[in-house]
């Protein structure tokens, strides 16, 4: 099982660029970190959940990880109005979140020490979360034309729940 999974994944990874390959490896490492236990350390891909993470090769996730790399190297005053560059901690927070999100957003830097993730449906429903170094993130949602703002716990679990509800899952 382990060998087959690795071979399959390696074939998929070969199709992508060097940066994408690096990002793909991060997905695997993240999955390994999450599911690794003393019992299965050397048998990573025998764990079905891990195999699904690796074999469900999420191109949107890779795309977001690549964009985070671009945001990471933005210099000070990147917006021409004195914006600070993004802290290592915030970059780490958004990377871990992207790795954990079940549905990938579009993400954008802001000049407010945050990175905005967005979900939008064709019917106009919209969900925006400002990912920051705070324990709670600001969110803005439009659902059935009703606007809601508030704060959400910064844990990936809570955010995945909110996204699931947004998509009616």
């Amino acid at each position: 099982m382990q060998s087959l999974a690795l071979q399959t994944f390696a074939k998929q990874v070969e199709l992508f660029s060097y940066v994408e390959q690096l990002s793909a490896m991060e997905i695997i490492l993240s999955a390994m970190k999450k599911h690794q236990t003393k019992e299965n350390t050397t048998d990573f891909f025998s764990n079905k959940a891990d195999y699904e993470v690796a074999s469900t090769y999420d191109k949107n996730k890779i795309k977001n990880l690549e964009k985070i790399e671009k945001i990471k190297i933005l210099p000070k005053n990147w917006n021409g109005n004195g914006a600070e560059n993004f802290s290592k901690n915030l970059i780490s927070i958004i990377r871990n979140l992207v790795l954990d999100l079940k549905i990938q957003p579009e993400l954008f830097p802001t000049a407010d020490d945050s990175i905005q993730i967005e979900y939008e449906k064709e019917n106009g429903d919209y969900l925006e979360i400002l990912v920051s170094e705070n324990n709670k993130f600001d969110f803005f949602q439009i659902k059935n034309k009703i606007e809601t703002t508030g704060k959400i716990d910064s844990s990936s679990e809570k955010i995945n729940e909110m996204i699931g509800e947004f998509y009616g899952q």
């Binding site: 964009k67 021409g80 967005e118 919209y126 925006e128 703002t149």
Partner: protein
């Protein structure tokens, strides 16, 4: 020019960073509302009814990036306030504030402005 903004006047914003011009554009071709979030105040150049090409030419001397525009009416419709704040760099410099007392735009205001913005050109 003073703090009176006619409804039809255009306000131009250069969207940085120039190194990665598509950073703020969504897959559906629209600009993200994140481009309208700046805790220091949303800087714009007021058009004062100049031609787009004239505005771009002037902005070219101190900006690089994509330029988008909204109208003063777009701002008033969502109770955002254009402020005329000329600087040494530009006599046209202005900012769009969330209200008379709040500098930052609300998420709702940002989204509406993003949806109503038009791409004017590249610098």
């Amino acid at each position: 020019m003073d703090n009176n903004f006619p409804l039809e006047e255009k306000l131009y914003r250069a969207v940085f960073p120039p190194e990665i011009r598509e950073m703020f554009w969504k897959e559906n071709g629209k600009v993200s509302s994140a481009a309208f979030l700046d805790k220091k105040g949303l800087s714009v150049e007021r058009g004062n009814f100049r031609q787009d090409s004239d505005v771009l030419e002037k902005m070219k001397s101190f900006f690089i990036g994509k330029v988008i525009s909204v109208t003063v009416k777009n701002c008033f419709d969502i109770k955002a306030i254009p402020k005329y704040l000329p600087s040494e760099r530009s006599v046209f410099h202005s900012e769009i504030h969330g209200s008379e007392t709040v500098v930052i735009l609300s998420p709702s205001q940002r989204k509406v402005l993003a949806e109503n913005s038009e791409t004017v050109g590249d610098l």
